[in-house]
Subunit: 263 residues, 2 copies
């Protein structure tokens, strides 16, 4: 049995109880932290909290050399851990298909995703989000500025009145993550005065949620990672109130003039 378990967003207590139980029952536990990572728990924290040993695999150890993981899973209970939800990256789906190909039973125990948190923390309604995008580091993208695919998706969502989650590039193996202020500066080239919402440390006990013009957000410091941005489309009245109350959205960016929240 190969059980894919999502650890959630923040620390060793972000996992579900069902996930924790499966983790503790496993004979062997592998994990990857190159697609994402837990902001406030080291591998050692996870091992201590759950009384387990974790074999951390790099990309090559998952994608090129998963043999020993699959061999163990043929006769034992193997758990494979990722931050956030599992199956978010193609690398996980690929491993699951390899296991099924060998007749290994697989199952998935979900974790909380940044998409969920982006909606919950901003008060923007989840059914009003369009396609999400990832903003890469310029060096990873191979050019300055924002890829056309990103700006096109944002524009297409906005034409339908939809919000866009902008995930920010993570190079976990280099301990680099794109900051919301840098992302806002990049996006301000195309969308200077657009309203945007920074969500920093989603899933943590002290998330920061701040709405302002992209050009203004580019000047601020939102502290420790991870960060993401939301670019709102059309705002319903309650969404405007939420952005004013939860994210200090400036009054001149909102229409709901009769709200107590909008100063």
């Amino acid at each position: 049995m190969l059980t894919f378990i999502g650890l959630g967003l923040y620390d060793e207590r972000s996992i579900s109880i069902a996930g924790r139980d499966a983790l503790q029952a496993a004979d062997y536990v592998a994990a990857e932290f190159y697609t994402s990572y837990l902001v406030d728990a080291t591998v050692s924290d996870l091992e201590t909290a759950h009384d387990i040993d974790i074999d951390v695999r790099d990309r090559e150890g998952v994608e090129q050399h998963p043999e020993d993981i699959l061999r163990k899973a043929q006769s034992e209970d193997v758990a494979f851990l990722t931050a956030g939800d599992t199956m978010i990256s193609t690398t996980h789906t690929d491993l699951r298909l390899r296991a099924i190909d060998r007749g290994i039973d697989t199952r998935v125990i979900h974790g909380v995703t940044a998409q969920t948190a982006a909606s919950g923390l901003t008060g923007l309604q989840n059914y009003r989000f369009g396609k999400s995008v990832t903003l890469p580091f310029p060096y990873a993208h191979g050019a300055e500025g924002v890829p056309t695919s990103v700006t096109d998706s944002i524009t297409a969502n906005r034409e339908r009145g939809l919000h866009t989650v902008v995930y920010l590039d993570i190079k976990a193996d280099r301990d680099e993550y794109l900051r919301a202020s840098d992302a806002a500066e990049m996006l301000a080239t195309d969308f200077e005065d657009m309203l945007a919402v920074v969500v920093a440390r989603a899933g943590s006990p002290d998330p920061t949620v701040r709405a302002d013009r992209l050009s203004a957000l580019a000047e601020k410091d939102f502290g420790d990672p991870l960060h993401l941005l939301v670019l709102p489309g059309e705002l319903h009245h309650l969404e405007e109130e939420a952005l004013a109350a939860l994210a200090d959205a400036p009054a001149d960016m909102l229409n709901a003039v009769d709200s107590q929240w909008i100063k």
Copy 2:
């Protein structure tokens, strides 16, 4: 302090450890199960598993008469529980804003959502989903068939190659939920031979994931609730492989003829 806690999708063990800890530390625990509910845990199961008492509120008890919740939260630790994530419904955002208006500290502890599970269980990539929709019961919609807003959103997503999650109506207070087969039959009027994926019991130990034409899915029985549908847009090669391996997608609905999975 008012802490909104998402219980996740399935039973009393779907909550995160952080959520469970906050729940057990609360002086008073309220919950609502009219926007969604846990498929395999009663209120009594939750109370027993976490050693707490839960005050279940109906819609009126949350939206019209939240006074006692707010009054308690001014001096005590109050937890407010919902199935899935919290803040998914406007009713939760509204309660949070009322609390903030009174100077009450609020926080959010996220739970796993059906959107997350729909992506993870089908192998469809999360960044390739467009706006999601909810398909109402005809009696709730007030007319036969599928609302134009639903078909328009599906069509707009597909024009951009994007997948659509179709949530199915829940009338928890009447113990009614729209079945995937009935939803497929309704959607088949507009999209007869479209490929669709049923996800039944997402988040449970035995989810069903089945891909076929809408007209074929309309003839099947997917067992206990909750159900949802995914209408895929363009499929990448790995997504086709995943739908064949995980959901028995028929070969003639897929293009990747060189895959071992597609028979």
